[in-house]
């Protein structure tokens, strides 16, 4: 069953590109069929529904969808934990 992941940042031009690529690699490695929707934070709402939202910027709103910060993909700190929680949502 194909999973849809929204990857968002402020301008959808830099950090979300990195995070989106990491999510694609993680899903490929774990045999998860995924569709990535890379958007600006302001475009999340209009791109629902989704199975997961990964953001590299602060998002306060609750979209009723699991939301995980993709910050570790940028800073390099805590990547394993982030990947584990992404897999938990997508394989859960």
């Amino acid at each position: 069953m194909k999973k849809k992941v929204i990857v968002a940042c402020g301008g959808a031009v830099a950090t979300s590109t990195i995070a989106a690529n990491k999510v694609v690699e993680l899903c490929k490695k774990n045999g998860i069929d995924v569709e990535i929707c890379q958007v600006r934070i302001s475009e999340i709402q209009s791109n629902l529904p989704a199975d997961l939202i990964v953001t590299t910027s602060k998002v306060k709103r609750d979209f009723g969808v699991p939301l995980i910060t993709g910050m570790p993909f940028i800073s390099g700190m805590g990547v394993e934990k982030t990947e584990a929680s992404i897999l938990k949502v997508l394989q859960g």
């Binding site: 301008g11 031009v13 602060k58 390099g76």
Partner: protein, 160 residues
């Protein structure tokens, strides 16, 4: 490779600034003066940083990767680098108020069509590899010239 595109005139070892706004006026101003970015670039950097901060605490090293939407950049993607003697306060990416003292700034002037996502992946991955290498960050802080900074990045990229 990023190092090949780096321009010595856009690399500032030993820079000084009291605030991130000043960093953007200095470094962003240089990008605009050199014709790589539009007149709106510096203002857009300041505005965007307030809403979407780009400070990073990489194992105690303060780094920032300020950038704007593509609408403020001309046709060529360029990177300006500034190394600050004293830390400049940035808010950390993904937070509202957690700050970090930044001494290394990679200012990204990313060109492209509005709404086009996922471009420049290779360049962005190289930048991420650079800012996550704390030994390299240390060397960048000690570099005395633009050429030395370019050399350090060249050596790093050859390992990628």
């Amino acid at each position: 490779m990023i190092w090949e595109t780096l321009k010595p005139a856009l690399i500032f070892p030993g820079a000084e600034a009291a605030s991130y706004e000043e960093v953007f006026q200095q470094v962003g101003g240089a990008l605009t003066k050199a014709g790589y970015t539009k007149e709106t670039y510096v203002e857009a950097l300041i505005e965007r940083e307030r809403e979407y901060p780009t400070g990073l605490d990489v194992e105690g090293w303060g780094v920032a990767i300020p950038h704007t939407p593509v609408e403020h950049v001309n046709s060529e993607t360029v990177i300006a680098i500034a190394i600050f003697k004293d830390p400049v306060e940035f808010v950390q990416m993904g937070t509202d108020d957690e700050t970090v003292g930044v001494r290394i700034v990679f200012m990204l002037a990313i060109a492209g069509k509005p709404g086009e996502h996922g471009a420049h992946l290779d360049e962005l991955q190289r930048i991420i590899a650079i800012i996550q290498d704390t030994a390299l960050l240390q060397n960048l802080l000690n570099a005395q010239s633009a050429d030395e900074i370019i050399k350090l990045i060249e050596e790093k990229e050859k390992t990628l």
